[in-house]
C-alpha cells in the first residue's frame, strides 16, 4: 500500500513539474513593440510602399475607370464587370483594394518617427531618416486620396486603437501638405546628414541618387507641388492660392533640369524595382496576358507620337467577356519578354512634375509657361512638334490630359485624376454589344461611369458605416 500511495503522489507531482514548460512563444517571428534596427524598419516601410502601390488597384483599375485599358480574363470576369456597368462592390477585391496597404505603411511610418529606433540615431541622421519617412508617408496619403477623391480619407492618429474619423479630401490634402513641409524641413535642416543613414533599394539610384538627402528633398518638393495642384483643383474647396505654392515647390523639384528636357531628364526619379527570386519573390505584375488597351486609347493617339510604341497588335485577341473583345496591348505586358518581369516602375519622375507645373500655370493664366512645360513632355517623350502657345485654359487642359494619358499609362492614375479634376471624364467609351457610340450617347447612359473606388466595406463596417467626411 505504501508503494501505491507513493505512485499516486508521484502522479500528482507530475502536475507541478509541467508548469515551467508552458511559457515559450509558439512561433519564432519577432514580436512588435521592441526596438529594431533602423535599416529593417525603413526597409519595411519602403517594401510596404512598393507592395501597396505596385498593384492593379493603383496602376490598372484607374485605367479601366478612365476607359484606357481593361483586363479581360475569362476566369475572372470581375475585372470587367466591376469596372464597367455596375457600381464597384466595396466588399470585393477591386472595391476593397488600394487602401489597406498604404495605411499599414503609414502606421509603420508613424511608429518609426516616434519610436525608439529613430530616437537612438544621431540628430543629423534622425532628421534625414525622419524626413525620408515623412516623404514616403505623404506619398502614400496622396495615393489614398487619388483613388477615393471626394469620398475623403482618414488621417491616422497616434493611437492605433482609435478609429479616427473620415475627413474631407480638402482636409486630408492640407494635412499631406503639412507633412511634406515638415519632412522638407527635416531634410534641409542645417545639421541633416548628407546621405541617408540606411541603404536604399537599387531602384532609388536608377535615375538619380535618392540615398542623398538633397535629392529626397527635391522629391519632397515635387510631391508638395502635386498636392498643391490637387488642392487648387479641388471641386469641394478650390484653393486658388495653392497654384502659386505648387509652382514654387515644383521649381525646386526641377532645379537643374533643362526647360527642354531630354527623355532621360524626364525619367529622373526613384523607381520600384523587382526581383522574382526568394526571399523577395516580387516581379512586375503587369506581365499579364489579359491586359488590353481600349480601342478609344488606340485610336486617339496622334500620328507620329513615339509613345505609339506602347500600342501593338496582340498575337491573340483578348477573351470575349460579355461581348467586349480587344486586340491591342502594351508590349510591357508580354510574358514572352522576360525583361518585363523586372521592368522598373517610376514612383515619381520629372515628367509628372513638368505637367503638374503646367497645370498650375494654366490655371493661373500663365499659358506661355504652361505651353512650355507641356511641350517638355510632348516633345521630350512624344517626339512631336511643340505646341504653339495655348489659346486658352481649355486647350491647355486638353493637351495636359493627352500627355498624362500616353506618358503615364500603367504608371498611376494620373490621367484619371486629371480628367476628374477637369470634369471631362466622359470622353471615352467602352463599346459592348448593344451599346451606342459616345457620339450618340454623350451622357453615358449605356456606359455609366465610376470615377473613384468606393470606401472598402471592411473599413466602413468597422466604423459603423459612418464614412461621412468631416472638415
Amino acid at each position: 500500500m505504501k508503494r501505491n500511495i507513493a505512485v499516486f503522489v508521484g502522479v500528482l507531482a507530475l502536475a507541478g513539474a509541467c508548469r515551467e514548460s508552458l511559457s515559450a512563444p509558439s512561433e519564432d517571428q519577432l514580436v512588435a513593440g521592441t526596438a529594431q534596427p533602423v535599416q529593417n524598419l525603413i526597409t519595411g516601410i519602403i517594401a510596404q510602399d512598393r507592395a501597396s502601390t505596385i498593384s492593379f488597384a493603383y496602376l490598372l483599375y484607374p485605367e479601366g475607370l478612365a476607359r484606357n485599358s481593361i483586363r479581360l480574363d475569362p476566369n475572372e470576369p470581375r475585372f470587367t464587370s466591376e469596372l464597367i456597368g455596375v457600381p464597384i462592390d466595396p466588399s470585393d477585391f477591386i472595391g476593397g483594394s488600394g487602401w489597406t496597404g498604404w495605411y499599414a505603411e503609414i502606421r509603420a511610418a508613424n511608429q518609426f518617427i516616434t519610436g525608439p529606433s529613430a530616437a537612438a540615431l544621431s540628430p543629423g541622421d534622425k532628421a534625414a531618416a525622419v524626413g525620408f519617412v515623412q516623404t514616403l508617408k505623404a506619398l502614400d496619403y496622396i495615393r489614398v486620396v487619388e483613388l477615393r477623391d471626394s469620398l475623403g480619407a482618414v488621417i491616422q492618429g497616434a493611437d492605433p486603437n482609435v478609429t479616427d474619423p473620415f475627413r474631407t479630401k480638402t482636409a486630408v490634402l492640407a494635412y499631406i501638405s503639412a507633412v511634406l513641409d515638415s519632412g522638407y524641413a527635416n531634410l534641409t535642416a542645417a545639421s541633416t546628414s548628407a546621405s541617408m543613414p540606411f541603404t536604399v533599394p537599387s531602384g532609388y539610384a536608377l535615375n538619380g541618387d535618392y540615398s542623398q538627402t538633397a535629392n529626397v528633398a527635391a522629391l519632397n518638393r515635387g510631391l508638395k507641388g502635386e498636392v498643391e495642384v490637387y488642392r487648387g483643383l479641388d471641386h469641394q474647396s478650390p484653393c486658388t492660392a495653392c497654384f502659386a505654392t505648387a509652382i514654387t515647390a515644383l521649381n525646386t523639384a526641377l532645379t537643374g533640369i533643362s526647360a527642354t528636357p531630354s527623355a532621360s531628364d524626364l525619367a529622373i526619379g526613384p523607381y520600384y524595382q523587382f526581383n522574382p527570386s526568394a526571399p523577395e519573390s516580387f516581379s512586375n505584375p503587369f506581365v499579364d496576358n489579359h491586359i488590353y488597351l481600349t480601342d478609344n486609347f488606340v485610336q486617339s493617339i496622334m500620328p507620329g507620337d513615339l509613345r505609339s510604341s506602347k500600342i501593338v497588335k496582340a498575337a491573340n485577341l483578348s477573351a470575349n467577356i460579355a461581348g467586349l473583345q480587344l486586340s491591342y496591348r502594351d508590349p510591357i505586358t508580354d510574358p514572352g519578354n522576360l525583361a518585363n518581369l523586372v521592368r522598373p516602375i517610376p514612383i515619381a519622375r520629372n515628367a509628372q512634375f513638368f505637367l503638374l507645373r503646367a497645370q498650375a500655370e494654366a490655371e493661373t493664366g500663365n499659358l506661355v509657361a504652361a505651353t512650355a512645360d507641356v511641350n517638355a513632355v510632348h516633345v521630350g517623350e512624344g517626339g512631336l512638334p511643340p505646341y504653339a502657345t495655348f489659346a486658352g485654359v481649355a486647350d491647355a487642359r486638353a493637351a495636359i490630359l493627352y500627355e498624362y494619358r500616353y506618358s503615364f499609362i500603367y504608371d498611376g492614375p494620373h490621367h484619371l485624376i486629371t480628367a476628374r479634376q477637369y470634369g471631362i471624364i466622359n470622353k471615352a467609351y467602352v463599346t459592348q454589344p448593344g451599346m451606342p457610340s459616345l457620339a450618340s450617347d454623350p451622357s453615358h447612359a449605356n456606359d455609366p461611369l465610376q470615377t473613384v473606388l468606393p470606401v472598402p466595406a471592411n473599413e466602413a463596417q468597422a466604423r459603423g458605416n459612418d464614412v461621412t467626411p468631416k472638415p
Binding site: 514580436v31 526597409t43 475569362p74 480619407a153 479616427d164 541603404t199 460579355a322 471592411n458
Partner: protein, 1006 residues
C-alpha cells in the same frame, strides 16, 4: 487545484486501506446468442470488480482471480443487451445467453476520462455508431462513414475528389475564428486533424497565387485540403461515440466545445487465432454533369468566326464532344483488401490488421491509396492490465486540379470556355502531341493538363498508445484502480504539385513567364498526450459511487514549409533548380495541462445516475498561460420505475456542461511582418493586433430530453433539446484598416445555438422470414449572434457581396448570408453614374434541418440496407454556374441553332448585371447515401468455396451516393471551395465532380 486533487485522493485512499484480501478462483464458460450461435468478443466481467475478459470466436471465455463467494457476471457486447448471471459460490463454469439489442440500449458510452456507463443510463444524447454501421459500405474516410448517421452533425465534403476533404460540425458553430470541428480521440490518443495546402494556387492563380509570387500566396486555405483524420482506417473501428457538446464533452476541457468523437479500435480475444479477410472491388462514375449545347457545323463555323475570328474547317469540326466525359469519364478500378487476425491466451490477447485500399477517382492522375498496419495487444499481469496499440498508415492522395482558377488550368474553367465542336483528344501531326485549344488563350488542352500535371500528397503516420489499468485494490464492495495512458500521433505530410514545362498552359505565360512549376511542401506534426487517472468505485446499498481524479498533458506541434519553383528544365522537378523561387513557412506549438475530478453515482436500483465533474486546464495559447480555466459539468438521468400504455421504459435526462475552445496559436502576439527588398529583410507591424490577455472561448450547454422504449421492445425514440451559449468569443475582429491594422484579437460577444434532435427506431416486422428495422433521425439547429463588442463584419472568404458573403452581426445567424440586391443609377452633371447598392439578408447558410432514414431488411441470408440523407435549407453561391454561362456554350454572339439553354443564361446574366445575386441558390438535397445488399453464404456453400476453413462468409454489393434529389443547378450541393473554415462554407467553384461508387465485396472469417 493540485491541493484539491490531493484532498480528494486522500479521501479515496481512506476508503480502502482497511479492506481485506479474498480467496480467488478461475471461471470458464461460453457466450451464445438467442439461437445458440457463438457470440465472440463479448466483454465478461465480475460485477463490482475490475476482473474481466473477452469471449473468443467460439464464444468461450475464461476469467482468473474471480473472488470467492457468490458473484454476478455481467456480459456486454455491442449489438446485444447486457446479460447478468448469478455465479454461485461453488460454481466455476457458466454459460450466458444474449439477446440482440437492436435499440442500442446497452451500448457503453463515455462519461469521463476513464469511466463509461450503459447507454440506458446515460444523461446525454450520445450517438454510438458501431463498426458494422461504419463499414456497411466502403467508406472513403471515417467522416464519410458518419454522414446521415449522427443527428446534429452536418458533414460536408469540399468536393468530389478522392481522399477526403470533409468537415464535421456538430450542433452548429460555436466560434467565428477558433476550432470548429470536434475533437477526435482514438483509443485515448488525441488525433491531429489539421489540413495543409498543397500549394496548387501556384498554378491556378487562385487567391492571387500566380501574381508575381508576391507574399508567397501560393499556400492558401481554399483549395482541396484534406483534414488528416481521413488517414484513419475505418475497418479497424470497433465503434464511434459522438459526444455532441459541452454537456457531454466538458471533461475534454478546452477542446470539448465542438463535441468529441471517441473512436475505439478492435481488440483481441482469447482463444484460437481467427482471421478475417475482406476483399472489395469496385469503381465510380460521375453522378452529375452539365449539359452543354451542341453546334451544327454551320453554327459552329459562324460561332468560331464571330467570337474567335477562326475560320473553322469542316475537318476541324468534331461534332459534339463532351469534355466532361473525356476528363472525368474514366471508370478506374477501386479496391480494398483487408486482413485481420485475432487471438490470444489466458493473459495475452492480440488483434492485428492490414489494409490496402485504393479509390480510383474519375480523372487521370487522381486517386487515393491507403496502406495501414495495426497491432493491438492486451497483457494481463496480475492486477495490472497493459494494453498497447500501434498503427502505421501511409496514404497517397492525388486530387488533381479543380476549384478556383485564374489561369485557365482547372478542367471546368476550360470545359466551360471550350465549344463542344473541339475535340481535345486530337493529335497534332506536326508535334505528335495533343492539339492546342484554339479557343482558349494560350491553347490550354484540358486532357493534356489532366495527363501531365501531378498532385501527390504522401502521408506517413504513426498512431500508438500504451495504457495500463492497475487494480490496486479489489473487494466485494470497492475497487481502486490506477489508469495511465501515453499516446502519440505523428505524421509527415509531403505535398507536391508538378506542372511540367511541356504543357501549353505552362508555355502560355498565364502561370508565370517561366514554363514549368513545382511546389514542394512538407508538414511534420506531433501530438502527444499523457493521461493518468485514479478511479475508486464503492458498491453499497445505495448504489455504486464512482470517483475519479486525474491529470492530462498534451503537446501539439506542427512545422510547415513549402517551396515554389517556376521555370524548370524538362524532366527536372527540383524546385531549387528553378529560375524563380518562393518559400512559405510556419510553425505552431501548443502545450496544455489539465486536471479533473469526477463523481458519479448510480443509485435507486440503477435507475438514477448523477454525475458531477470539473476539469481545470491551462494552455500556452492563452494570454496567461499559467492560469487554470475550470470547465464543470453536472448531469442526471432517471429511468422511471413504472411504465404503462405500451411503454417499456422511459428515461428522463438532463445535463449541463461547460467547455472551452482553445485559443488559436499566436493570437496573443502582435508580430512584425517581414518584407524583403533589395536583399534586405524589412519589418513592419503585421495586420493583426494580438491580445496579450486572450482567453479561451467558453461554451455552456444545457441539454435535456427523454429516451423511450415501447411496443414491447420494438420501438425506441429519443428526444433532445439543447441550448448552447458561447461567450468571450475570440474574434479577429475587423478593424478599420485606416488604423494600420485590419484586425484585432478581442474576447467578447455571445453566440447561441439552440436545437432539437429526434431519433426513432422501429422494428415494424420481425418474424422468421423477414425483419425490417428502421431508424430515422431529425436534427435542427438555430445559431444566433446575440451580441458583439464590435460592428458587424464579414467572416470567411468570398467573392464580394455582389455574389454573397457571410456576415457576423447581432441578431443574425453567425453565417448569415448577405448579398446586394440592386443599385442606384444617378445622373450627375449630365453623366450617368452608378450609385449605392442595397444589402439584403437571406438567412443562415446552414441547413434548416437534417434527417436520416436508415432501413434494414433481413430475409433469411439476405440483408438489404439503405440510408437516405436529407438536408433542407441553407445556401450556396453557385459560381460554377458562372463559368458555364460565361463560356461559349452558355453565351454566344450568334443566334439560332441549338440555343435552348441560353435564355436561362441570359436571364442570369441580366439579373447579375442588375446587381442581384443571380447565382445564390438554395442548397437543399436528399441523397441515397448508402445501399448494401448482402448474402451470408450457407455453410455448405461457404465450405465448398473455402474448403471448409471458414466460420462465416458473406458477399455484398454496395453503392454510395447513388442518387441525389435537388433543385440546385450545380453538380452537387454538398461542396465548398472554402470548406476549411468555421463559417462561410457556401462556395461552389468548379469542384472535382461528385461520383457514384459501386463495390462488390467478399468478407470471410477463418
Amino acid at each position: 487545484m493540485r491541493k484539491l486533487g490531493m484532498c480528494v485522493c486522500a479521501l479515496l485512499l481512506t476508503l480502502f486501506v482497511s479492506a481485506e484480501a479474498s480467496a480467488q478462483r478461475r471461471v470458464t464458460g461460453r457466450v451464445v446468442g438467442a439461437d445458440g450461435e457463438a457470440v465472440a468478443n463479448a466483454s465478461v466481467s465480475v460485477q463490482g470488480t475490475t476482473i474481466g475478459g473477452y469471449s473468443a470466436e467460439d464464444g468461450r471465455f475464461m476469467l482468473n482471480n474471480v473472488p470467492a463467494g457468490p458473484q454476478v457476471l455481467v456480459v456486454r457486447r455491442i449489438g446485444y443487451k447486457r446479460a447478468s448471471m448469478a455465479l454461485s459460490a461453488a460454481s466455476d463454469q457458466i454459460d450466458v445467453r444474449m439477446v440482440r439489442d437492436v435499440l442500442q440500449l446497452e451500448t457503453q458510452v463515455v462519461t469521463g476520462q476513464a469511466t463509461t456507463v450503459a447507454s440506458q443510463n446515460a444523461a446525454n444524447a450520445v450517438t454510438v455508431v458501431s463498426g458494422a454501421e461504419v463499414n456497411r459500405v466502403p467508406q472513403p474516410t471515417v467522416e464519410n462513414a458518419l454522414q446521415g448517421k449522427v443527428p446534429g452533425a452536418v458533414i460536408t465534403q469540399n468536393g468530389g475528389a478522392p481522399g477526403g476533404g470533409v468537415q464535421v460540425q456538430i450542433r452548429g458553430s460555436n466560434t467565428v475564428n477558433g476550432a470548429y470541428q470536434p475533437l477526435y480521440v482514438v483509443d485515448g490518443v488525441v488525433i491531429n486533424n489539421d489540413a495543409f495546402s498543397n500549394g496548387v494556387n501556384a498554378i491556378t492563380g487562385a487567391g492571387g497565387g500566380g501574381a508575381g509570387l508576391q507574399g508567397a500566396q501560393f499556400v492558401s486555405t481554399q483549395d482541396q485540403q484534406v483534414n488528416r483524420v481521413a488517414d484513419l482506417n475505418p475497418e479497424d473501428i470497433e465503434n464511434i461515440e459522438v459526444l455532441k457538446g459541452p454537456s457531454a464533452g466538458a471533461i475534454y476541457g478546452s477542446r470539448g466545445a465542438n463535441g468529441v468523437i471517441v473512436i475505439t479500435t478492435k481488440h483481441g480475444q482469447s482463444g484460437a487465432p481467427s482471421a478475417n479477410v475482406l476483399q472489395r472491388l469496385g469503381t465510380q462514375v460521375m453522378s452529375n454533369k452539365y449539359n452543354f449545347r451542341c453546334f451544327s457545323y454551320a453554327d459552329a463555323k459562324a460561332e468560331a468566326l464571330a467570337d474567335y475570328q477562326i475560320d473553322l474547317k469542316q475537318s476541324d469540326y468534331a461534332g459534339c464532344v463532351d469534355e466532361q466525359d473525356i476528363v472525368y469519364g474514366n471508370k478506374y478500378l477501386s479496391y480494398e483488401t483487408g486482413v485481420s487476425l485475432r487471438g490470444g491466451g489466458q493473459n495475452t490477447t492480440y488483434f492485428a490488421s492490414g489494409t490496402v485500399k485504393h479509390d480510383g477517382g474519375l480523372a487521370a492522375n487522381s486517386g487515393y491509396t491507403k496502406q495501414s498496419l495495426r497491432f493491438n495487444v492486451n497483457q494481463q499481469m496480475g492486477a495490472m492490465n497493459l494494453r498497447g496499440s500501434s498503427e502505421i498508415i501511409h496514404t497517397l492522395t492525388e486530387r488533381g486540379i479543380s476549384g478556383n482558377d485564374n489561369n485557365n488550368i482547372a478542367p471546368y474553367t476550360l470545359i466551360g470556355a471550350t465549344p463542344t465542336y473541339f475535340d481535345p483528344r486530337r493529335i497534332d501531326p506536326g508535334t505528335g502531341q495533343l492539339v492546342p485549344n484554339p479557343f482558349i488563350g494560350g491553347g490550354a488542352n484540358v486532357l493534356q493538363d489532366a495527363q501531365q500535371i501531378r498532385t501527390p500528397e504522401d502521408v506517413y503516420r504513426y498512431v500508438g498508445n500504451i495504457q495500463s489499468d492497475w487494480s490496486l485494490f479489489t473487494s466485494a464492495k470497492q475497487t481502486f484502480n490506477l489508469s495511465a495512458l501515453a499516446g502519440v500521433d505523428a505524421y509527415d505530410d509531403h505535398q507536391r504539385v508538378y506542372s511540367p514545362p511541356s504543357t501549353y498552359i505552362e508555355q502560355s505565360g498565364n502561370i508565370s513567364p517561366y514554363p514549368g512549376s513545382v511546389v514542394d511542401g512538407n508538414a511534420t506534426v506531433v501530438n502527444a498526450n499523457l493521461n493518468v487517472s485514479a478511479i475508486h468505485r464503492l458498491i453499497a446499498g445505495f448504489g455504486t459511487a464512482t470517483s475519479s481524479i486525474g491529470v492530462r498533458q498534451e503537446h501539439s506541434q506542427s512545422n510547415y514549409a513549402s517551396n515554389l519553383g517556376q521555370g524548370l528544365f524538362p524532366g527536372i522537378t527540383n524546385y531549387a533548380t528553378a529560375v524563380q523561387t518562393a518559400v512559405s513557412q510556419g510553425q505552431t506549438l501548443t502545450k496544455t495541462f489539465s486536471t479533473y475530478v469526477q463523481e458519479e453515482l448510480l443509485t435507486a436500483g440503477e435507475k438514477l445516475l448523477l454525475t458531477a465533474a470539473v476539469n481545470a486546464e491551462r494552455a500556452t495559447t492563452n494570454g496567461d498561460s499559467s492560469k487554470f480555466y475550470a470547465f464543470p459539468k453536472f448531469s442526471a438521468s432517471y429511468n422511471l420505475p413504472y411504465a404503462s400504455y405500451g411503454i417499456d421504459n422511459l428515461k428522463l435526462r438532463i445535463a449541463y456542461g461547460r467547455a472551452g475552445n482553445r485559443v488559436p496559436t499566436n493570437f496573443k502576439y502582435t508580430f512584425l511582418s517581414q518584407l524583403a527588398e533589395n536583399g534586405i529583410i524589412g519589418l513592419r507591424p503585421s495586420g493583426t493586433v494580438g491580445l496579450s490577455t486572450v482567453q479561451p472561448e467558453v461554451t455552456t450547454e444545457t441539454e435535456g430530453g427523454f429516451d423511450m422504449a415501447f411496443l414491447g421492445g420494438r420501438a425506441n425514440t429519443d428526444f433532445t433539446l439543447y441550448s448552447k451559449k458561447t461567450t468571450g468569443l475570440v474574434l479577429a475582429s475587423a478593424r478599420a484598416a485606416s488604423t494600420g491594422f485590419t484586425a484585432a484579437i478581442i474576447n467578447g460577444g455571445e453566440l447561441d445555438n439552440k436545437g432539437a434532435e429526434v431519433g426513432l427506431t422501429l422494428i415494424p416486422i420481425q418474424n422468421k422470414s423477414l425483419t425490417w428495422q428502421s431508424h430515422t433521425t431529425y436534427a435542427r439547429n438555430r445559431g444566433m449572434v446575440v451580441s458583439l463588442p464590435v460592428p458587424a463584419f464579414y467572416t470567411g472568404n468570398g467573392f464580394g457581396e455582389r455574389t454573397a458573403r457571410t456576415k457576423v452581426g447581432p441578431g443574425y445567424a453567425p453565417d448569415e448570408v448577405v448579398a446586394y440586391a440592386g443599385f442606384d443609377s444617378v445622373l450627375v452633371n449630365g453623366v450617368m453614374k452608378r450609385g449605392g447598392r442595397h444589402e439584403a439578408f437571406y438567412g443562415s447558410a446552414s441547413p434548416d434541418f437534417t434527417m436520416g432514414f436508415s432501413n434494414d431488411f433481413t430475409v433469411g441470408a439476405f440483408r438489404l440496407s439503405t440510408l437516405v440523407d436529407w438536408r433542407k435549407g441553407g445556401w450556396l453561391a453557385d459560381l460554377s454556374q458562372t463559368y458555364v454561362e460565361n463560356g461559349v456554350n452558355g453565351q454566344s454572339s450568334i443566334s439560332g441553332g441549338s440555343l435552348a439553354d441560353t435564355m436561362v443564361n441570359h436571364n442570369d446574366q441580366a439579373l447579375y448585371a442588375s446587381g442581384y445575386p443571380a447565382f445564390l441558390e438554395h442548397a437543399s438535397f436528399a441523397k441515397l447515401r448508402e445501399v448494401t445488399l448482402s448474402y451470408t453464404l450457407n455453410k455448405n456453400l461457404a465450405g465448398a468455396l473455402f474448403r471448409g476453413t471458414t466460420h462465416e462468409a458473406r458477399i455484398e454489393v454496395t453503392g454510395r451516393n447513388l442518387k441525389t434529389w435537388t433543385k440546385y443547378r450545380g453538380l452537387d450541393p454538398e461542396v465548398s471551395n472554402f470548406g476549411n473554415a468555421p463559417l462561410s462554407r457556401m462556395w461552389d467553384l468548379a469542384p472535382y465532380p461528385p461520383s457514384r461508387q459501386f463495390f462488390f465485396s467478399i468478407d470471410a472469417s477463418f
